[in-house]
Amino acid sequence: MAELDPIQVEIIRNALVAAAEEMSVTIWRTSRSSVVRDILDYSTCVFDAAGGAVAQSTAIPIHLNSMPSCLREILTNHIPLENWHEGDIIICNDPYAGGQHLPDIQTFKPVFLDGERIAIAGVLVHHLDVGGGAAGSYDPNATEIYQEGFRIPPLKIAEAGKRNEAVVKLLLRNSREPVNVAGDFASQLAALDTGAANLQRVGRRYGPALLKAAMARIQDQSEAAMRAMIAAIPDGVYDFHDFVDDDGIDRDTPLKINVRLTVHGEAVSIDLDGSSPQAKGPVNCTLAMSLSAVVCGVMMALGTDIPANAGCYRPITVAAPEGTVVNARSPAPVANRMATGHRIVTTVMGAFDQAMPGTVPAAYYGVSYAYAMNCFNADGSRQVYFDLECGGWGAHPEEDGANGFSCGLHNVSNAPVEMLENTLPIQFQEYGLVPDSGGKGRTRGGLGLTRAFRLEAPAGVFAANLERFKYRPYGLAGGEPGQPGRLTLTRAATGHVEELPSKVARLEVSKGDVVRLQTAGGGGYGPPGARDLEAIARDRSEGYVTG
């Protein structure tokens, strides 16, 4: 065991974080599609030689723990470490072998120094299209994973430095966007090379033994910090549940998410038993996805900025019975897993509120409001307008929730109205806050948003993957829930306003029709009667609350 002083640990930590960030910059710099470069839907990770996560670079919380759990699954059940050789790259996107949804392709490269494996570099990229029943591999009507695109079981996409071009060709032949996907995939592999070169540099500088010891210490430090935070929570068993509106196919059946949180000393266990059976529609989570969402919920409940690595996960155990919406069996569809993922986050946070009341915020809007309009132009061309929206944050015990701001698993930018109108046959009517949408309370929930647009092309087809239309973001400690989301279509021909459900598979729209999305506000905290008069007056004068 090499001698290790705390300064070396910190210097090596910074070098490893920098390695993850430089992989990330490589993808940003060399990727081809706008999904990757503009929405930043990718993440990078540095693992120790045994596959424990040490450093990550990610802005999107759903990716947290995605790669570590995928790697663990690959090592345990598919390709054991002794078969990982220099120059190999292992690839996987199969949700039923540790992956997330199919567009998220994960790759791992072992890093060797003088014949010894010193680390593993990992990169996850959300690819534009991996085939399946709808563009973007996002088919709301899917009832089996076979309708969602191509599955890549864990396999070596490169062996001893040689890429398996046959497999790459096969995959690209099945994508609607072969050029973009080929470009992004090349960038993904280039990032692995950047990471590997950096890790070799670090290994050469400090020696493999010191590097190994430092990696272990870095994980131990995060674990100790997590355990210290958990130890401060009273031991006990805390139950909470929340609901997903429906799976989009069976619209009358809500899906229950049940959490039993057990705090015991310095560890927590989260049991999702009691959650609904797996759904027919694509809102299912595999265990790996649920794990990711649970970790996000725990981190947000603790409000922590502990560096996320394998050490953080050690005090957390997660159980979920097979065949449920939180641990679906193949071939259940999973493309819209975020509906359930967000609900796992809010349910975990609700359970933590029971355990440590007065520190956890009420529920946030709780869904990535994704919708798409396929516009059919007069000249026969087609253009897809895709957008993502957010809503209000839950009230924190100490302050009002933020209005219209990314939260939870969700963290992407909105698209400028002027840019959309310049490039697409749509025109916006409104983009604003929704007064009265924040749950009332001693502190108020953040406001949801309204986004309304008119189709200017002769015809279009609209689809949406939304949530929180029926089950509102909960309030806490006597606070009221936030207002639910709402989606309407106003027909130009008749002036008729149609109320739409939260999940829309294929709705035909004509020129002049207006789609109006209203997103949920956050829940309130504490009794509304306890709100101070100054805050009430400000809510009125600012028009956050009317009447």
């Binding site: 300064i7 910190e10 910074n14 430089e22 470069r37 100790a224 409000g303 109205v417 840019m419 604003g432």
Partner: protein, 675 residues
């Protein structure tokens, strides 16, 4: 002296002056404390002192080039007037909604988002311009009058007007401004098409709001300054330094104060460009390390790049500005041991007040400067040229109590550790700045300035794999020196989405002609002679569907510009699509008025020849005897080798073992790694 050109850089703590004798080319530096209540007072005081010290009459000043953080500070400290925003009905919340992306991913309270105009002072009016500039809904003048009346009733002194697509058709904004001026005659009114005529409503609105709120602040300051200068008999024109590295007149600065917002790094960047040419080192990493922050900018092929957007307090400013990466690492960066036993350095800073423990100003947390003092790298009796005596014992004690003991280390090891960790942060920032452009650190030399940079530059260079470090003269006032050589630059822009191909060539030329007419007017008002004017044009291009653009020069040949775009895309992003026609998003013109450039005189040694003093310092875990020299005594052509400490009035340089340093005729020290 006959005629002198003066540059004044007013920062939060110090006002730096550089005086250039236009006849001999000799430059002189001076530094006085900033007078925050009215910075023009310190400016005049400093100018009078410099005149006495260097022997010139105030009437002999030919031009004053003035950098100021007054606009930035007014925003950061919220010393702004009451404002109102008038925008298109249905979109008044755009300012509050922003762009959604959060930086603290697991925070249970949302990060604070600055909002300069609350909802109650944002008013919607009935009007709508389409993306192509066509009018969908005519301006309802009654709704503008009503908005102006309500804004006035709410006490608004500054009114921002930002309508959708006003960059494509400003008619509604212009008419609305007339109505507002009529109803509120004393108000400061700012329109988005005049401040930042670019597509993307949130960024344009944010820039316009900042501009409106800053108008009274900057105009008040400039009128005071004008009064003081006139009273003192200074007749020279004053130019204000802008974020784009160029200067502008007080008249334009008063109307467009947002252009001053990120001008802090402009002088240093300009200096780095000049030195890159003088030293024949076209690839430089310019690093400015002060008490709180570490600014990195890249001179690539002799020029520092501009970017089209920056941020102040998280608020976007959509105007061309020097590209810079800032991290929280400086002499005042605080070291601490956290609950898990990690040694963390920064980003929190002790700043100038109370400052590091060794300053004797009540600081209680160990800072990077304390580590340098404890290791003997800073002479406690020669700090700021001896103006401040440092408390070595207190620095050692706090390092021992707060860092060494909790970690079980020796005091010196803890101090070296703090510096090593700070170095890794600085090196990571540089590597990312190069990496995102596809550049290799081995092709670059570091140029180090700012009060705290000299002690860390060689270590940082070694960390990134660079082999050369340049230490320019007067690193504490280098930014002011760079300002001496500025030109007048007025940035003009037109956003118009169209394919970059033949059929649109006429429209491109028409837009450029309109910008040129505007630019000519401005330069005429500035009194720039026809021969000294230039109107370079660049187009911001992208492949259809992308969200970011690359600026490419345009000289009338659209095909050549498109070719250059493909090449630039290949260089920056490692791929290109030569068969795809890119689209134009924004056309830009930098209407430039060249100011005369007196040439700088070669450096001459002053003072006594180098004495052979030595001091024991700690380096790489060992005590070593370092040669100590005063910078001004090193003769041109002399070569010295590390370990070496070079002391100067506002900075200390550390040349580690294995580095050799020579003096360049410009007075810069050039250190090369020998091993």
């Amino acid at each position: 002296m006959q005629r002198v050109r003066v540059a004044v850089d007013i920062g939060g703590t110090f006002t730096d002056l550089q005086v250039l004798d236009e006849t001999t080319g000799a430059a002189h530096a001076h530094k006085v404390p900033t007078t925050p209540a009215d910075p023009s007072e310190g400016l005049l005081g400093g100018l009078r002192e410099a005149a006495a010290l260097f022997g010139f009459e105030l009437g002999a000043v030919s031009a004053i080039l003035h950098g100021t953080t007054i606009a930035t500070n007014a925003v950061l400290e919220r010393k702004l007037p009451t404002g109102a925003l008038i925008s298109t009905q249905g979109f008044t919340d755009v300012l509050e909604i922003g762009r959604h992306f959060r930086s603290r991913v697991y925070a249970s309270k949302a990060e604070a988002r600055a909002l300069l105009i609350p909802r109650s002072r944002r008013f919607g009016v009935t009007e709508r311009v389409r993306a192509d500039g066509g009018i969908e809904t005519p301006l309802d003048e009654a709704s503008v009058r009503s908005a102006a009346e309500r804004a006035g009733a709410a006490g608004a002194e500054a009114i921002a007007i930002a309508f959708l697509h006003a960059y494509a058709n400003p008619a509604h904004e212009r008419r609305a401004a007339e109505i507002v001026q009529h109803i509120l005659p004393g108000a400061f009114v700012s329109c988005s098409h005049a401040v930042s005529p670019e597509i993307r409503e949130f960024e344009r609105t944010s820039t316009t709001v900042l501009n409106a709120l800053l108008m009274p602040v900057v105009k008040t300051y400039l009128s005071r300054l004008r009064g003081r200068l006139a009273d003192a008999g200074v007749v020279a024109p004053v130019y204000l330094v802008q974020s784009n590295g160029g200067v502008t007149t007080p008249e334009i600065a008063g109307e467009q104060p947002a252009r001053l917002l990120l001008s802090g790094p402009a002088g240093g960047a300009r200096a780095a460009e000049i030195l890159a040419a003088a030293l024949e080192l076209p690839n430089l990493i310019a690093v400015d390390m002060g008490g709180t922050s570490y600014d990195v900018s890249i001179v690539d092929g002799g020029v520092i790049r501009l970017v089209t957007q920056g941020k102040v307090d998280g608020l976007p400013v959509r105007l061309p500005m020097i590209e810079i990466r800032t991290i929280g690492a400086g002499g005042g960066s605080i070291a601490r041991v956290d609950e898990t036993g990690r040694l963390l350095v920064g980003p929190e800073s002790a700043g100038a007040m109370p400052g590091p423990v060794c300053y004797r100003q009540g600081g209680s947390a160990p800072a990077v400067t304390d580590a340098n003092v404890a290791l003997g790298r800073i002479d406690p009796d020669f700090f700021l040229g001896g103006a401040m005596s440092l408390d070595v014992a207190a620095a050692r004690a706090v390092l021992s109590d707060r860092i060494a003991q909790p970690l079980g280390l020796q005091g010196d090891a803890a101090a070296e550790g703090i510096i090593a960790i700070a170095t890794t942060h600085m090196a990571a920032a540089i590597r990312l700045s190069l990496f995102e452009k596809g550049l290799d650190p081995a092709d670059f030399a570091l140029i180090s300035f700012g009060g705290a940079g000299g002690l860390h530059a060689c270590d940082t260079a070694a960390e990134i794999g660079a082999r050369r470090v340049v230490f320019p003269r007067d690193p504490g006032t280098l930014s002011a020196w760079g300002m001496l050589f500025s030109d007048v630059v007025h940035d003009l822009a037109r956003s118009r989405l169209m394919r970059a191909e033949g059929p649109n060539h006429a429209e491109v030329e028409a837009l450029i002609a309109a910008m040129r007419a505007e630019g000519e007017d401005m330069l005429t008002r500035d009194g720039i002679a026809a021969d000294d004017r230039a109107y370079p044009v660049a187009l911001d291009l992208r492949y259809p569907g992308q969200a970011y653009e690359i600026g490419v020069p345009y000289d009338g040949d659209l095909d050549a510009t498109v070719e250059a775009f493909h090449a630039a895309h290949q260089r920056q992003y490692a791929h290109a699509e030569p068969h795809v026609t890119p689209e134009i998003v924004t056309l830009r013109m930098a209407a430039t008025g060249r100011l005369s450039k007196p040439s700088a005189r070669p450096f001459e040694t002053t003072g006594e020849p180098a004495a052979t003093l030595t001091r024991t310092i700690r380096l790489a875990g060992e005590r070593q005897d370092a040669t100590i020299v005063r910078r001004e005594t090193i003769a041109s052509g002399t070569a010295l080798t590390g370990p070496l400490i070079v002391e100067e009035a506002h900075s200390t340089l550390l040349i580690p073992p294995g580095w050799r340093v020579v003096v360049h005729p410009t007075g810069a020290l050039i250190a090369d790694r020998q091993t």
